[in-house]
Subunit: 165 residues, 2 copies
């Protein structure tokens, strides 16, 4: 020991499994936010002329699973929300649950070295893989926070932010 503080620069912050559990916990909370919206308001209501929450959920569905598949298969297909156009909450939730499995399936195939390699996500975003994945999680928290405002504006108490499962 010297008087100098040892920096933790290269210390592991968390494992792949811990990040996956963390992400799926967030996804479970987002699922409950989708459920909390009345059917009509999910697809039509918004604040400040922003997108309704169903549109945001379709963005999240179009990003996480397809993004991970691209990372694992080394394919840089463009991002698209056009493949999925749900008309009901049930349809949206069914797809959400399918993507839970898709994410689990692809995520566990990414190695420690791969997380650090650059990948051109959707042929457009050139970053290390761990940053691509953090973007999926952060973008979900960001839009879900907006969904919380929509629910409050509808007079609905949203689930607690810290309850994940």
């Amino acid at each position: 020991m010297t008087a100098t503080t040892t920096k933790n620069t290269t210390a592991q912050f968390l494992t792949a499994e811990q990040l996956l559990n963390h992400w799926q916990g967030h996804r479970n909370l987002t699922r409950r936010i989708i459920e909390a919206f009345p059917e009509k308001e999910l697809f039509e209501f918004s604040v400040a002329a922003m997108r309704p929450f169903a549109k945001m959920a379709v963005e999240l569905i179009s990003m996480g699973g397809p993004g991970l598949k691209g990372i694992v298969d080394q394919q840089t297909e463009a991002y698209s929300e056009e493949a999925f156009n749900p008309k009901t909450k049930e349809e949206l939730l069914k797809k959400w649950d399918e993507e839970t499995e898709t994410i689990n399936h692809y995520f566990i195939q990414i190695s420690e070295e791969h997380f650090q390699e650059n990948f051109n996500l959707f042929g457009q975003y050139e970053f290390p893989v761990y940053q691509n994945i953090l973007y999926f999680v952060d973008n979900e928290i960001h839009h879900r926070g907006q969904g919380y405002v929509y629910l409050r504006a509808l007079g609905i108490d949203p689930p607690f932010f810290w309850e994940r499962f």
Copy 2:
């Protein structure tokens, strides 16, 4: 190689330094959201009877730096927002920048083993340290997403979510 997919369970997802940079990138974006509010609206405006964004920023300031200090010093003092009661945007931003240094100072002292140890954050939230820290980041993204709605409702275009520095 066998036909079974190798799971990445214990693989490192990212290092401590990468997480710190990621967090400080988010904090820089939040700083720009604070700046984007007009002085009066920062302290008074909200949507759906929620808190104005200045109150949310005080929550973030009261959590990150003090929480890390508690983790490093093994102190479980209760969470409090009462120590800081800014009246101007300038005062809020000055404290924000001070906390940037506080976070850097304490974060680098947390070892790989320590990230995995349980800590009773603010004497109330008993979780592994890495989860306590992810909570600071996630909670910031969550409330900042709400700040984006406030800005949109004020007719102000917020900074891009993906621009961090």
